[in-house]
């Protein structure tokens, strides 16, 4: 067996701690289509009461939730090292925009949306304040995305109002035209996102 050359295993899942498993599972179900494949009671002595394994694709689990009932969110998270966000990728701009409208109808508030040159992304808080990013590549070719990432403009991103993007898309703009018009500033929100008061 190879014991010298670094193998590149695929990123598979991440685990979250929670104080309210049902609320978390409901949110991830509604937002991302994640379904629970196993829900088990932890053995005696475990710091957790219940563990749930869930996924929204063919991989057996993409998220595992470790529940300690009543576990509080970190009120001082801005000053602690931690996971900053987890991200999910859509195949098309229409899938992203359609999801934006669906979540808006569900009353799930958007934190921020921007064209980040490599991708168009939107951000949400889950019920416990974890940040979930939903994105779509601005390029058809993954390698072109990497090339863009290696050559990012200094301004890094341009804020967008997704309702304006939806209107432009419905008026017939192609995804690439939407991207060009976004970085041209055409979809800048009338009221800026309150990024400095949002818990990132």
């Amino acid at each position: 067996m190879n014991t010298e050359i670094t193998i590149h295993p695929k990123f598979q899942h991440c685990g979250l701690t929670t104080g309210n498993l049902d609320a978390m599972l409901d949110w991830y179900r509604k937002v991302l289509g994640i379904v629970v494949h196993a829900r088990v009671n932890s053995p005696a002595g475990s710091p957790f009461k219940t563990v749930a394994f869930a996924a929204n694709d063919e991989v057996n689990h993409r998220l595992s939730f470790f529940e300690t009932p009543g576990l509080p969110s970190d009120s001082d998270r801005d000053r602690h090292a931690r996971v900053q966000h987890i991200a999910f990728e859509y195949k098309s701009l229409d899938d992203l925009l359609g999801t934006y409208l669906r979540l808006k109808t569900l009353g799930i508030p958007l934190l921020w949306a921007a064209d980040q040159f490599i991708q168009t992304a939107m951000y949400y808080h889950d019920p416990e304040g974890n940040i979930v990013e939903l994105n779509v590549n601005n390029f058809d070719d993954d390698w072109a995305v990497t090339e863009q990432l290696q050559n990012l403009p200094a301004r890094l991103h341009v804020n967008i109002d997704l309702d304006k993007v939806v209107a432009a898309r419905k008026a017939g703009a192609s995804p690439w035209e939407v991207h060009e018009r976004a970085i041209g500033g055409e979809f800048t929100p009338d009221a800026s996102y309150e990024l400095h008061t949002t818990r990132w």
Binding site: M1, N2, I5, T6, I7, H8, F139, D140, D141, W143, A144, E147, Q148, N151, W176
Partner: protein
């Protein structure tokens, strides 16, 4: 449309000039399983009057889901470059087997067809067999010993320079049949255990 950021289009197919369209398509069928997806003749008059391509015919072939992987352009008077090792151009074309057994089984099958092996080696990253097609283009058939292109890339970036470890595939087949796993074959090949009785001359074979 993106007009600035470099897109990475995928390598798709290869074009070859030949005077022996039938013999070439037959060789690629026997060795690699290529079948003809399209074949056409160019009317002589089109060539004589310079109204068409300088070919008498062409054939598109593929051994997978792609519409073509190789396209042969026929020029009846084309001949083999006797001095190709001293001329710029295509050095080889390579095809990948998904398992070591597929590579070794292919070796035995091609041998039974009477098609001679040119040379073979463990390159550290892959076991490779080399053959010459009827026009003396070099075709490599290989198996990546690391099982993943990403691991192979790590190896390439880390690689210790050095000559390939020459192998006699018959010795590999025997060791595999005796139960050696592909990775064991690799370490034993690098250690020289499967070296051919008569080594191939790098000047005339590599």
């Amino acid at each position: 449309m993106n007009t600035e950021i470099t897109v990475h289009p995928r390598l798709h197919h290869l074009g070859l000039i030949t005077a022996k369209l039938d013999e070439m398509t037959e060789w690629y069928r026997k060795v690699l399983g290529m079948t003809i997806t399209q074949r056409a003749k160019i009317p002589m008059v089109a060539r004589m009057t310079h109204q068409g391509p300088p070919f008498s015919g062409f054939a598109f072939v593929s051994n997978d889901e792609m519409d073509h992987r190789v396209v042969f352009f026929e020029i009846p008077k084309a001949d083999i470059d006797p001095d190709k090792r001293r001329h710029t151009g295509l050095q080889h074309v390579a095809f990948e087997c998904t398992t070591m057994d597929d590579l070794l089984g292919t070796y035995v099958r091609i041998k039974n067809l009477g098609i001679p092996l040119m040379w073979a080696a463990d390159h550290g990253v892959a076991f490779s067999l080399y053959y010459q097609d009827p026009d003396h283009n070099v075709v490599e058939i290989f198996f990546n010993v690391y099982g993943s292109p990403l691991t192979a890339t790590e190896y390439m970036k880390s690689a210790r320079p050095g000559m390939p470890s020459q192998i006699d595939p018959d010795k590999l087949v025997a060791a595999r049949k005796a139960g050696a796993e592909p990775w064991d074959l690799h370490t034993r090949a690098v250690a020289g255990e499967f070296a051919p009785a008569e080594p191939w001359d790098p000047q005339s074979h590599f």
